[in-house]
């Protein structure tokens, strides 16, 4: 394998679930330099270390200088390339949507949370670039990935992984979220909510009134100062629908509201609604689901 100075390199991280993002990055790199692409990956065996991984990448870049380094714009991609750029004293542009070789290299990248596209020139070679997630179609052809080892002397090491308090599906990933508000009445009252969530393979959420009352932890809170989610289905039980809460679940594809108050604000945003007491309605739904599944 010869690595002329105009080869582009694509870096991939081994355990990433975002195989999708890697293939998008690959596609981006192909457009930049179809001819000489080289992919490297780091096998972390569970021990992620940003400066260690960056050190390995930087070493590789020093030994075999490419024309550019491309990586997926995932959290790790950005972090590792940022460290590598600092170690190599090279420029780094994140969240790019396109790039073209030239003197200097030009690129278009996403700024300000997605509201701006900026055209920029990169002075310095090689340029380190990450690809904005889901901005480029994924590559269909594959590529062989050369494994490289992280640098031995890493300053930062993952020492422990903490699981989120609510067992089961994470709130942000869940496709279905069953959420309870002040109407649930107590921490114990959430048992019916948890039951339905489990039956639907979803996560449990709540409104701020619930966390203020201490019935659920802050990690379950959906809203302006909590988590913003976009599930396929959001079931809001005993939640009035104040703006501060809706800011968190506005991304839901469908919203089902269960509320005894015909005037509740949430009904204006709901696709479906049941006017009734959640302590009767929710167990009834759970019972019906069980019946349908068994019979």
């Amino acid at each position: 394998m010869t690595w002329g100075w105009c080869s582009a390199m694509v870096v991939v991280f081994a355990e990433r679930s975002d195989d999708e993002l890697f293939r998008q990055a690959l596609s981006f790199a192909r457009r930049l330099e179809d001819d000489q692409l080289h992919a490297v990956g780091i096998d972390d065996a569970g021990a992620y270390s940003p400066d260690g991984w960056a050190g390995a990448l930087a070493q590789h870049v020093r030994e075999r200088p490419p024309s550019a380094v491309v990586a997926p714009g995932s959290e790790r991609g950005n972090e590792v390339l940022a460290h590598a750029a600092a170690q190599l004293d090279l420029p780094f542009a994140a969240n790019c949507v396109s790039a073209a070789h030239g003197d200097p290299l030009t690129l278009t990248r996403v700024r300000w949370g997605g509201s701006l596209l900026e055209e920029a020139r990169v002075h310095g070679s090689p340029a380190l670039l990450t690809v904005a997630p889901h901005a480029v179609a994924a590559d269909t052809a594959g590529i062989e990935v050369e494994p490289i080892r992280p640098a031995a002397q890493a300053k930062v090491r993952v020492s422990e992984r903490l699981e989120a308090l609510s067992a089961g599906v994470s709130l942000t990933d869940a496709d279905v979220v069953v959420s309870g508000g002040r109407g649930v009445g107590s921490a114990e009252g959430f048992a019916v909510i948890e039951e339905l969530a489990e039956l639907l393979g979803g996560a449990v959420g709540c409104s701020r009134a619930v966390t203020s009352a201490g019935w659920r932890p802050h990690t379950d809170q959906v809203g302006q100062t909590g988590t913003r989610i976009s599930p396929s289905l959001y079931i809001a039980c005993g939640i009035s629908g104040a703006t501060q809460h809706m800011a968190g679940c506005r991304g839901a594809k469908k919203l089902l509201a269960i509320n005894p108050d015909r005037e509740a604000s949430i009904l204006a945003s709901a696709d479906y609604a049941v006017i009734g007491d959640l302590h009767e309605v929710v167990p009834a739904i759970s019972a019906e689901i069980r019946r349908t599944r068994s019979g």
Partner: protein, 636 residues
Amino acid sequence: MSGTLFVTRVRLLADLVRGAAPAQRAQRSGDIGRRARNEATIVLGQRKLLQRVGPGLMHAFIFWGFLVLAPTIVIALIGVVDKHSTLPWLGHQGWYALLVDIFCVLVLGGVIAAVGIRKVQRPRRFEGSHLGEADLILAMIATIVISLLLWHATRIALHLNEWPASWSPVSNALSNLFGDNQATRVLERAFVWVHILTILTFLAYLPRSKHLHIFVAAINVWFGRTRAGGRLEPLKFDDPEIPEADLRFGAGKAPDLTWKQVLDTFSCTECGRCQDACPAFATGKVLSPKLVIMGLRDLVLAQDSDAPLVPAAVPAEMVWDCVTCGACVQACPVSIEHVDHIVDLRRHLVMVDADFPAESEPMLRDVERASNPWGRPQAERAEWAASLGITVLEPGDPAPEYLYWVGCASSFDERAQRTAQATAKLLRAAGVDFAILGPREGCTGDPARRIGNEYVFQAFAEQNVETLNQAGITKIVTGCPHCFNTLANEYPDFGGNYEVIHHSELLSTLVRDGRIKPDHAATEQITYHDSCYLARHNDVLEAPRQIVSAVGEAVEMRRSRKQTFCCGAGGAHMWMEERAKPINEERVREAAATGAGTLAVACPFCTVMLDDGVQGAGANLRVADVATLLSEAIDG
């Protein structure tokens, strides 16, 4: 020696003030008339101290005593040198001797009262203050005054008094303790020496203690804000005349503090009235405005220009607890402006360190991207007005008499939208010529500015000013006190000069003029909650009350008008999580205690926060804006 100690210390303090960063000139000079009035009322008249009558009088006696007794220092200095001489003319005046006697007693009374407060009553506001220092100061004051009386008494006993003895009843009475003999002659010298030595020691100690306030306070009051209390000083990002190294992004280290801020820290007497007034402190949060100022003072005096102010002088929690309500500034007898300090600390944390509560990040992003803090599409901004027949001003339209600035909260929050709808209906019914900007109205930037992102705020200020100026707007009416404060007090810094009135002011004028006629079935008991940004920062107190009285029976809470207790939304807290006890529930309990059935407000933030508070506290109160109440009173 005392003089040298005094002068060297004062020189250091003066250098620290002079070497500090510049504050904007316009706020600190000009308006001489009002500044002089402040000196007269706040300093001489002790107006702010007398907000609490007991301790206020205690201090007033000591302070006025100090003024009246000042010439006696000169008299004593002369007397130390020549036992037969005194000040020409004044030393012989009976009326002056009378005043001296009276004030010596008053000062002593004040000192005893102070000791009683500190040792017996032990109020919470002294938590964190240096009580030992205060004890020493009180002891020295007592010594000075007692030694003066005794010196006069011995002089009378020796027939050395230059003033008619009968004019100084206390000294005269005390003189009966002493005979005209050698022992008294010795005591006469002893008392005058004790008197002078105590004063000189005090002089040397003064600038090294919080007693420095006796000189600095008067200066600090002079330079305090005379108007636009709610206006924050803008940072200059793109002024070509400022060298890049001097650009200020708030206060990160001690040299970043402005001279007014340094002067503030030197003025603090650790009295704790700000701490008492602070809603965050009252609900169990870490923030104490007093400790913020004391912390900054200590770091400035340590002359450490490298330590980061947060956390070396002030813990981060304190910085974020603040709701910018200004109760501390209102309470401070020496015109310290705590909110400025806290916001400057926030500015540095947000813009340079990017270190701020994570839950507020979506708000900042949404303000930037979507021009409103809830991230709602601007196209929906006028949806609340659908079918109300209100004019939405398009570019090129002639300017209406009033632009009704709705604000993000009333545009998008369902509880606050009712206020906008009521206001619009009332204005239409009264035939007022007004229009709204609809989707062209962007966030005024208040939450961004209060959390410390001055950069985003200025971008929005410039944008909005351009929109308003191009539309030829001269008068603005708004229902939101935060928008009101920003439009009226802060937009002039960006070329926007408008006559801004609050919707309650316009509505109460319309009621007074008979253009709106409420059906006064007035049995409902209503208690009105003053919004901090309306009442304290902007002095709008009566107009909302006039509306309340027109539609029901008003009953006041104890903490009302300028002493109002915050709803908890200010300082961008609408977008932050809260620790300890919720401020809004605390306020709702106070409102419920009045026995009223309705809690009237004049602010969309207060509407939401207090309604949440009612549900959280389980109170039996209906929360409604004065416009809503008025609108219901004409519908029937």
